[in-house]
Symmetry: C2
């Protein structure tokens, strides 16, 4: 039985209908989860988006995301003004400097800017500036620096170097007073509030939402902006996935000595971030791949019972993701799927049902499920998710 909790009754009922149609009993059956059958919808009036199980700091931050994502929308006017400035600048291409979680947000921007604006986007190699002392000739490119803390020296130097030339520079940070925000000509505040957990969760989803908001304004795409308005409810839907399902996914992953995380197109960013989150929190080696790259070699590491995490949705990458699932299943993998697509479920050992939403925002919803799985995997391995071994909140690489 699946218990579904939502912030709006309408959403819960729609979800019930969608999920009932989606979840068919598994054809092979035996080893599958038994929860793919839904009888009840809860719509507790008193239920906040903070689950009662959100007892750790990390879990509190994960569960705050419907609220924090809403704050991004309050930045719409300022973001529209920055977008107007970028349009005037008419950049030939975009280069984005970022590290760690922010680099996965940059990967999302690479696909979204490409899809919506036909702009070629390159992810920067900041060490060219800091290690080799090179001042890249950016001419009229748009150069973005993305950093939660705004304090990574290499990202700051890269952006400052670009600004000294004729590049238009924009910083995306959670700290308006940070060196990165100062280094860039323009600043977009992701307004995620203080993030106390070392592992980034709400800052990642707010970075993605900020990128989507900027893209919506750059492309003049009202549909994307409308979809952003509905995102808090979608995230609440992900937070309503029963903890038992999350735990089942975590157990499947934790039994392996390593795992693989795969996504295609926009969901490639999700695959990378899901892998990073599991690594950071539980210490398991998990590598993120695009489904195209996985066939160029890494597929050979998939053996019987090897845990594979798949991120998908109902968008255009749908068919490719379905084919990839078949391929890794044939290799004997055990599969956890986070997706809004029914086809992706039929081959999953554990399914994390993501409410259907605009495919351009699906990565924001999907990662929330993996954040929960990462926290549960850490718990099952006896790790303190609030203080991952060997990590600091601000990683100052040069």
């Amino acid at each position: 039985m699946l218990t579904f909790i939502a912030t709006h009754r309408k959403f819960a009922l729609t979800a019930q209908k969608t999920l009932t149609q989606t979840f068919v009993p598994s054809p092979t059956g035996t080893a599958r989860q038994s929860w793919l059958c839904m009888h009840q919808v809860y719509w507790p009036k008193e239920c906040s988006t903070r689950s009662p199980m959100a007892h750790t700091l990390l879990e509190q931050e994960i569960h705050s995301q419907p609220d924090t994502i809403r704050a991004v929308l309050s930045q719409s006017a300022h973001t529209a003004a920055v977008a107007a400035r970028i349009i005037t600048h008419d950049p030939y291409a975009v280069f984005i400097a970022a590290r760690g979680t922010s680099d996965n947000a940059a990967r999302y921007a690479q696909y979204l800017f490409g899809m919506m604006l036909q702009l070629p986007v390159g992810l920067a190699t900041p060490s060219l500036t800091t290690l080799y002392g090179v001042a890249l000739r950016f001419r009229q490119a748009l150069v973005l620096g993305i950093s939660q803390s705004g304090r990574s020296p290499d990202i700051c130097e890269y952006v400052a170097s670009a600004r000294r030339q004729s590049a238009l520079t924009v910083a995306i940070t959670n700290k308006p007073e940070s060196p990165l925000a100062q280094a860039a000509a323009y600043h977009l505040d992701i307004t995620a509030g203080i993030e106390q957990s070392v592992a980034a969760t709400k800052t990642y989803t707010n970075q993605l939402a900020t990128i989507a908001l900027l893209t919506g304004h750059l492309a003049g795409d009202g549909r994307l902006l409308d979809a952003l308005d509905e995102l808090p409810d979608v995230l609440a839907g992900v937070l309503a996935i029963p903890q038992a399902t999350i735990d089942a996914a975590a157990q499947l992953i934790a039994t392996g000595s390593a795992a693989m995380s795969i996504g295609r197109g926009l969901q490639y960013a999700t695959a990378l971030e899901a892998a990073l989150k599991i690594k950071e929190l539980s210490g398991l080696p998990v590598e993120g791949y695009s489904s195209a790259d996985v066939l160029h070699g890494p597929v050979t590491t998939v053996e019987r019972h090897f845990p594979v995490m798949l991120s998908g949705d109902t968008g255009v990458s749908h068919h490719d993701t379905a084919q990839l699932i078949e391929r890794v299943r044939a290799a004997g993998a055990r599969i956890v799927v986070a997706s809004s697509s029914r086809d992706h479920y039929s081959a999953a050992d554990v399914a994390l049902p993501i409410p259907v939403c605009d495919e351009r925002l699906a990565p924001i919803a999907t990662i929330v499920a993996w954040q929960r799985v990462a926290a549960a995997t850490a718990a099952s391995r006896g790790r303190d998710a609030n203080a991952p071994i060997g990590l600091n909140k601000v990683t100052e690489t040069r």
Copy 2:
């Protein structure tokens, strides 16, 4: 005792001197390799670059690299002509489409073009073209397609789409008659000869040498071109690393259930390719990182006895690599180092000594050591290195 075999007596003697100065007895001693002491130099007149141990097809191809790399130099005049055409075009940036091993060659180009030409380089996301149907607006960019077979449909489509606009397109392949060579305005033949093993070895080093040759002509850097002339001897030096050392490295890696491969700057490409090679051939999950990124989370997966593969050299990344070695050693890792730097050895459990060469070419020499380790790791896990499970020579992703 180290036996050193070289194609030129002068090189063998220089290597003897360098290595004798470099290899000091390990200060902690006990668990280290005992071969760090050298008494003899062999310079067998009758010795071809093909080692008598090169019994598998893969090993034959690995050992043919001093010869195949020489063939790249025969392309110098044509490459200079393509370079002249690129200079006339005056591209604002470079975008490179590639998959798998070729993507690691693209990573090398990203650093080399940045260092030598101050050109921003982005690695392409071909799925934007093939999956989302987007025609990116390249304007006057330089767009490179890199593919051994020249038959990856997504790389061909990406390059063809760029050519339909005003981008200058260049294909780098081993097959002049391939669709990719036809799709691009210009073609650089890597002249590696037929590669029969599924795992790319000589095509990778020849791709890198072709990129270095092109960069040397673009930058008008005679020193780089001279260094390329000496590369065959450097590779012969890597092939002369005793098999017992290679096997010791393979055993260290194979005892783990996963491993990590790290390099900084130009050697980031080596780290990625070394990881891919071990994955392809032995099926072990190994992830490649830049040392900067590894500190943003993945360092938490390094536990006691976790195998870490480090690629370094005596160039500007030297200090950062040394610091990273300290960090992972402190975490309890067991470390295999492939480097030309003495500092990097002092903390290694197994050291793969790379002859000193121009730092811009060090990745070409360093990967040859890892190719040998990958073949040995496959053998120790009972895998057929000529036919990795689940892989084809041509991977046709769209």
